[in-house]
Subunit: 371 residues, 2 copies
């Protein structure tokens, strides 16, 4: 495919950057002697997950039962479904557990009980605990409630209670790397205390699974009882992560390549074919307060990737299929109809989700799961 | 499918409401003696577009060349692609023009010239004009520039210049129905003046195509030279439209049905399986300033649809696959794990885009275009 003459928006991947990002994260896990179980919801692609095998990755995290079925079907044998079990999907989960090693999470006695009654094949069960994000999970300091769910899980002798699992999504609101580390440290303290309480209640040797991309990118190490981390976004990174300090803009490994369809130099704007259904409407705020739906780069002339973000250029508005690019006058005059612009995403997971396939620069298309 | 026991989030449609919404819009067009050419990007479904045939609809508007190919392949014979032509897609457009009546829009001499050189089959060409939205289109008051593009189009004697086309997307920022009508009236005055200027320059009898959903829902009528309107969202409507006053909440004909996977009465929240990849992250602000990603209804007990929005309940946060619902304590205590909640969308077009198929309540699944 000629990226300089685009028929439609294309999700492009710089594989060398993915490899560098993945290698760094794998090295961080290796130094702490823990497992990297990447969250593959970011790309939903067995091919891209496969790129991480060279770094020893053998297990993945997914965000739905359907995605688990796709990865098990694609040859992955150890899959964790990181959304609390939907009681109406237990028959599907049970079927998957007959085909591979399946991990699920529960955060209520009600759901744990339903699993015991409905799942015949062995499952690895994690109790989800909330250390401050307040989405799902039992509050980390409610030790009695956590032990109570553990007791229900133990009644099902087919299944194995693996430990506690937490997602510290509150790191995404952190204003600095220091603040991310503080949140992660407080979380690990609270979670370790809950693991201790379980040990005292007759559940010794349980593991701890943690893993948002900001804290996994910035923590010094992963102390026991952590046995695995589940970051996802780090393979691509994005403007949200660079804003937090989890990566540099040069680490962002995925983008949307869009053709320019209109030029309006009188108002310093270009319009690309590429809108909310290609880029997603997640925004970050620029220093001046403007909503930014993506930063803008040029293709490198040798076709091997893209250059740094153009100073002052950003996606200022998104319709369903079109995006308005604010362009500083000097740059705007050198780009026009038919040219390709590269849009760095605000939230790579949601952007990737909008595409049926990805184009790896210099290699070709890779396939992915679609719900 | 049993909507009371959901395995995964489902985009649901109340067909009776679609029919009522479509009938009203068709009647508005009929009274003014103009064509309703609905913008089918809202649902991207030939089946749903087919529901409008009973109201005399014979032509559609689409937002991409690929979507045009899908609708032409599904038996629609008159399709307008309402995004300025991407010069690299002219071969595809030319092929479509050999199979049906294809309308395209241009807003620059550069693109008009490329069309003349690259398209062998007859096209219907509209010049896009901007009456205040400032996305694409030549400014409506730049009559000379508009005439200049018309002259280029006329050089291609295979093609037919149909007229001027405008999308007044600025109505979406209007604070009241009165303001929507003011914007629409000013736009029509400016566009009529441009049509007059074209007539004086030797291009008599040109048409005017307008049509955002707010103004099409609220204008008194559609005076000449308007010959067609292109609203899209009106088939479903959504919380953005009800906020503007283009519809009532009872008119919203599509929603996402989600199973509850976690209950947190201690903080008046439920969590559904249903996130940004099912609902989309478009938000409206509530009176108290909170971001609202959807309002929340219950399924009707007779299974024919859903009730009115629950007072005080709304989607307050969306992760990739999960949504947090703020629930007033009294309602929250009567809903729990395994129950179904109905989420009214903020922007139905973007929500529909995320689903591979739709479930029409009481009938079954309908298929759609997927890029």
């Amino acid at each position: 495919m000629d990226l300089t003459k685009l028929k439609r928006p294309v999700f492009v991947i710089d594989r060398a950057k993915v490899r560098r990002n993945a290698g760094r994260m794998a090295e961080r896990a290796r130094r702490s002697g823990i497992i990297l179980r990447p969250h593959v919801k970011t790309h939903q692609s067995a091919a891209i997950a496969g790129w991480l095998r060279e770094f020893g990755v053998r297990a993945v995290t997914v965000s739905s039962v359907d995605m688990a079925a796709y990865f098990l079907g694609a040859g992955w044998t150890d899959v964790l479904i990181s959304v609390p079990v939907n009681v109406h999907q237990i028959p599907e989960i049970d079927e998957l557990a007959s085909a591979g090693t399946v991990h699920v999470i529960v955060e209520s006695g009600r759901t744990a009980q339903a699993l015991l009654e409905g799942a015949a094949h062995p499952l690895n069960i994690w109790i989800e605990v909330d250390a401050g994000y307040h989405r799902t999970g039992l509050p980390a300091d409610r030790h009695e409630a956590i032990v109570e769910v553990a007791r229900i899980v133990r009644r099902g002798d087919r299944h194995q209670l693996r430990g506690l699992l937490c997602h510290d999504g509150q790191t995404y609101a952190a204003s600095s790397p220091g603040r991310v580390r503080e949140i992660a440290a407080a979380s690990i303290t609270a979670l370790s205390s809950a693991v201790d309480a379980l040990a005292k209640a007759g559940f010794p040797g349980l593991s701890l699974s943690v893993g948002d991309t900001p804290s996994c990118s910035m923590m010094e190490g992963f102390p026991p009882p952590i046995t695995e981390i589940r970051p996802g976004n780090f393979v691509f990174y994005d403007l949200t992560q660079s804003g937090i300090g989890a990566c540099g803009e040069a680490d962002i490994a995925a983008a949307v390549a869009c053709p320019v369809i209109a030029a309006h130099p009188e108002r310093d704007e270009l319009v690309v074919y590429g809108g909310g259904v290609h880029i997603s409407k997640e925004a970050v705020r620029l220093a001046g307060g403007e909503a930014c739906y993506g930063k803008v780069c040029r293709l490198r002339s040798d076709g091997t990737g893209w250059g740094p973000p153009l100073a002052g250029a950003f996606v200022s508005s998104l319709s369903q299929e079109q995006g308005i690019i604010r362009m500083p006058p000097l740059i705007g005059r050198t780009a026009g109809i038919g040219d390709t612009l590269i849009i760095l995403p605000v939230h790579a997971c949601l952007t990737a989700n909008l595409h049926a396939a990805y184009y790896v620069i210099g290699e070709g298309w890779v396939d992915k799961f679609r719900s």
